[in-house]
Symmetry: C2
Subunit: 425 residues, 2 copies
């Protein structure tokens, strides 16, 4: 009997009706002859409401206690889902992350999964029951305290559990029909991608496609666990993510050169001008930034202007880290000597992703040409083997995404995609 892990996000279980609808879907899967293990997020806005409560009692709550608080969210949804399934005549048993054997490190609020020991889940399956597991949470290996996995944590729980149970597939149910060639809120004619490789999905996620978090895809790739992203509101085909195309529909699809266009408005750009063009200077700058915990994304360094011995370095980083970065640069300036750093948070990143571009020359020329035709100025460029990213003015992001979709024939003139919503956690 095939084991299927199904994960339902917060928007799928936002209220009692949603929970009952999801219960029917689970029961249908079970009756189709599969062993089903379910991972569920907190209902709709519950996590936000718990965060609000925390803020009301403490401006800076301890991580251990915040995790204890937030994990009440999945506890509620999982118990309700188990009840709804029982009401349809099948046995379901809910399990906390700890009970399901999700063992993590002790980094509260962003714990990493160390091991999954799903003994109680296997027992429930052996008893013919449907296990319902709380997403997003685990238990620290050392302190035995409850932890949470941070953003996208429920998806990671699902993939990790699927890997530990050697499931056939991990289905991620959300409120959109799958992964699209571009965000359908920006390009209404964006096309659903029937199949995408881990590698490309990783680039899409890293570049701002919000449907799956990076770490969940990384986990799936490491264990070779196929992911199937689907809507819990429809029966459409969704998107399969795996090493190679598999299944009837996907086998017929020739891999496209370009998978899609991702965009990201969460970054800012810092430019440090007149940096001494000497060995080790760039390293000192980025070492200083790393020491205060700042994740740098793109870095561009121009060649020195002739004879000056000075160069400009630009980099992008999360806007949330902007203030800390500028403070660190100010404190380093007396030692190294450079101009007043410039900070710009009115930028956006647009990324073209596709494994096919490895073997197809001219992709970057087409990309840059499309942007130029649309009157979009490129401020920075960064490339990998399967991705080209550009930084543009924030106001130009929509225009750039639209022009790129057209240039690479990524739109679907027949189906108008549904609008993207939140994907839970």
């Amino acid at each position: 009997m095939a084991v299927v892990v199904q994960k339902y996000g917060g928007s799928s279980v936002a209220d009692a009706d949603g929970i009952k609808r999801v219960a029917q879907r689970i029961v249908a899967t079970r009756k189709a002859g599969h062993d089903v293990v379910v991972v569920v997020s907190a209902m709709g806005d519950v996590t936000d409401e718990l965060h609000d409560l925390a803020r009301q009692v403490s401006p800076l709550p301890p991580g251990r206690e915040l995790d204890m608080l937030l994990t009440a969210g999945e506890r509620i949804s999982m118990a309700l889902l188990a009840m709804a399934i029982a009401n349809l005549g099948l046995e379901a048993r809910s399990f906390t992350g700890s009970q399901a054997g999700v063992i993590t490190d002790s980094a509260h609020g962003k714990a990493r999964i160390i091991d999954v020991t799903p003994g109680r889940i296997r027992s429930a399956l052996d008893d013919g029951a449907i296990p319902i597991v709380a997403g997003f949470q685990g238990v620290s290996q050392t302190s035995k305290d409850i932890t949470t996995l941070g953003r996208g944590g429920s998806d990671t729980t699902a993939v990790a559990l699927a890997a530990a149970l050697q499931a056939d597939v991990c289905e991620i149910y959300t409120d959109v029909d799958g992964v699209f060639t571009a965000d359908p809120r920006i390009v209404r004619t964006a096309r659903r991608i029937p199949w995408i490789s881990y590698e490309e999905m990783l680039e899409m996620a890293a570049c701002g496609a919000k449907i799956l978090q990076l770490r969940c895809v990384e986990y799936a790739r490491r264990y070779g666990m196929p992911i199937h992203v689907r809507s819990s509101f429809s029966n459409r085909a969704g998107t399969r993510i795996s090493e190679h195309p598999a299944g009837a529909e996907e086998a017929a699809v020739e891999q496209a050169i370009i998978s899609g266009v991702a965009h990201d408005r969460s970054e800012a750009k810092v430019t440090v001008a007149s940096v001494p063009d000497q060995v080790g200077v760039a390293a000192r700058i980025f070492h200083t930034l790393a020491a205060v915990g700042i994740n740098i994304d793109m870095i561009v360094q121009n060649v020195s202007a002739a004879g000056t011995g000075r160069t400009d370095i630009s980099f992008t980083l999360p806007r949330d880290d902007g203030q800390a970065a500028m403070a660190a640069l100010s404190s380093l300036e007396p030692e190294v000597g450079y101009g007043q750093p410039l900070y710009d948070d009115q930028i956006g990143k647009v990324s073209l992703v596709g494994a096919g571009m490895r073997s197809h020359p001219g992709v970057s020329a087409t990309f840059f040409g499309a942007l130029a035709d649309a009157g979009v100025n490129i401020e920075m460029i960064s490339t990998s083997e399967i991705r080209i990213s550009v930084v543009v003015a924030e106001k130009d992001v929509d225009m750039a995404v639209g022009a790129t979709v057209k240039a690479f024939d990524l739109d679907d003139t027949e189906v108008v995609a549904e609008v993207y919503g939140g994907t839970g956690r």
Copy 2:
């Protein structure tokens, strides 16, 4: 260093302000030099809201899942309380019932505590932290599933934990100033009882005084754990419950003949007329009722009317069990032969409780006289060594309580008591 267990009910932690107020009280106790362990209920109406959610997805939710759901309530309040204490500069660590070592049987919704193994609580105390423990919940010894203790469960958690930690006292904080000689909602001049024995408190609780549940007092008596009932909204002295009076205030108080008057409107009366006056017939009736899980309270059997060989049996039981009892009696009738049973749910029970009545004759005469003077008819009477209970018409309950308070000088002409409210669970 003295260990003090403090339990705060749902009305004390109903919102963020309540939680912050309770945190200050806990910190003050800690700074006064005591080791504090806190037991907390779910916030205000949270448990009711979770019950509502359950009803929306299933008419009859499985007990295991209902317990999983409801325990989210204390998880939220305990984490918030720990945050609020941390915000005042002391370390607090929240623990679920399971983490605190509250081991129960597997009777979901009404589990009984089998053992308490508070290893993590002791470690937290050793580290100088304040442990915050979820009331009302535990973990099944056999199935390892989460259980709840049922009504009054948080008080029982507090007493059980206090006993296991060999605490000096278990303080139960609620929204009233202690135990009163009568319900102040009925008799506004009811007097606070400064000290009461376990025995009398058990009778008060069994007879409808809602401030403490029977099982919590039973647990405290078994382990000799002193209880101190106080308001979390004031600094008044409250009521101490122990084997013997202790402490400055209580030592000076001569034990009163009568502790107080309790009343109960939750029962109904069943009368079975023309029952054959033969050995074993009453046993068959009550065996039949016990077999369907009905708890009988008072039983009165009159002597046979001369020559008839028949007698009448009346008993009281929870109104909730009325329908089941009448059905059981109907099915037994053909075997035994008796008249159509009569069901009356328009009754109330008024009980006079006091260890002093053992050695003071005439208490019942004064009690019945006071009721007669007030024009209240007595339908049934039942007595123990320290209690006299009467069943009266429900409409006469207030009148009966008031008349009894006056007759035994149980009122306080100086202080008008605050009104009783819910006491959480």
